[in-house]
Symmetry: C2
Subunit: 275 residues, 2 copies
């Protein structure tokens, strides 16, 4: 019989952990002095402790280990448990590798600029939305703003509430400075009318814009002419981190202001991991 300290030295398991396992019922001492409460361990408990350590090392929780050791499960259940753990670990390794890549990208950015990068790229989901939208080819990106002004006036006049920030969707495969295929998008409630005619005869139509499970996004503050670096940053990020673009870019106008330097815009690139 060993006192807890001796057993701890023998097994290289901290005393506090042994007490914790006792509390959980995972490894009860062979004997407990009923007057002093001293725990006494026997060598016959070594195999059980060894199993506990081995299973813990595989990443199982103490609860799962208790089940495995005490609840005699069928071999099928045991296999299931480990296969689940295997899948979890594969997932986790992939996630950690991706994270490592992001850190390395970030580090390169910092070393290139010698300061914290100006744009932070965040991955998020894009929900689908019910919207009134107008798709047109306009001569230059500067015309997008004018188009928005026009459409917004019409929607306000028609007393249709806008329930989320306004956005543009750029349908060109690659960036184009001229003859831009843009869609002007206004999120509306289910009750909104199916269409709305503008002064120039073009039709605003109601549709659902699709959700994306993953988009690389960044936030830009300042004038719309200055969006370029934001696009560059996010493009580099996508490339460096092994993603590919799987949908049309969106610009979400979170804050519009008469003073353009106060404007806040989010750029969203729908993406997926390559492979």
């Amino acid at each position: 019989m060993f006192k807890i300290g001796d057993f701890s030295r023998l097994t290289q398991v901290p005393v506090s952990a042994l007490r914790y396992y006792d509390e959980l019922g995972l490894l009860k001492p062979a004997q407990i002095d009923r007057f002093t409460g001293y725990r006494y361990y026997s060598l016959d408990q070594l195999p059980r402790l060894n199993r506990i350590l081995a299973l813990k090392d595989l990443g199982l929780s103490l609860e799962q280990i208790a089940q495995l050791l005490d609840d005699n499960l069928t071999p099928e259940q045991i296999r299931g448990m480990f296969r689940l753990k295997q899948a979890e670990l594969q997932q986790q390794v992939r996630a950690e590798q991706a994270r490592l890549l992001r850190v390395e990208t970030h580090l390169k950015q910092i070393e290139a600029e010698n300061q914290m990068p100006a744009y932070e790229v965040v991955l998020k989901a894009l929900p689908g939305q019910r919207v009134l939208a107008l798709r047109q080819v306009v001569p230059t990106t500067n015309h997008v703003g004018l188009l928005h002004n026009e459409v917004e006036r019409a929607i306000c006049d028609a007393r249709i509430p806008i329930i989320a920030p306004v956005l543009s969707i750029y349908h060109d495969e690659d960036f184009k400075a001229v003859d831009v295929d843009v869609e002007i998008v206004y999120p509306v409630a289910a009750e909104a009318p199916a269409a709305l005619e503008l002064a120039d005869g073009s039709q605003l139509v109601k549709r659902e814009i699709p959700p994306f499970a993953l988009a690389a996004t960044t936030i830009h503050r300042g004038a719309y002419q200055q969006l370029g670096p934001g696009y560059t940053a996010i493009g580099q990020w996508i490339e460096a981190n092994g993603y590919q673009i799987i949908g049309a870019v969106r610009e979400v106008y979170l804050k519009v202001s008469s003073n353009e330097t106060e404007a806040i815009t989010e750029i969203q690139f729908p993406v997926a991991k390559v492979e």
Copy 2:
């Protein structure tokens, strides 16, 4: 100005997390109603929240993020932080991959035997020890026991206390059934004499056995003739998990008993990860 729920929808960050960030001082609402305590957030806080999310995604703790955002550190300090994180992540990826390999090995074992494996292999450190030892070539492994009996009697007679379990070290590179090069090892305190002569004239000498940072170990209960499967199991484990043997095998006699089926023995293979 947005109420917390609206800001939560906008950013896809749970309300509870926003409140938590407020509590930490990481992201204070732009305004708080002094009567109702309602939090109001502004769009100008989006860039900061985005930075928080991006840095969190890189695996930094909220405390580190707060430092980065508020304590304006030198670019050198910032680089150091990320390089540290990078090293940590590399380490973690390696560890997870090794763990995954262990789970896969375990799973194969289970599928082969259709039950929990009989031997659990555990990695641990082997501390160095001061010992009295006798190295000899004996005809067969069966002679090891006899040698131990003899030596133990001599040490007891000399009134030298044995302060840890007795062990054998097998110095043969490969397993040998005959002409076994074995060392009989008795841990003793610093005060023990430097040598001790046996009845047959051989010398028990005092020395330090070296520590190993890592050893693959398993526990066997039962007769010493039955140790074979334990060696096999641990050998397969070492092979399957990408380790190599870097030192002499040890057998630690944790419990010796006149009834050999109650004996408990630990087999220890010093190892290192390949590469």
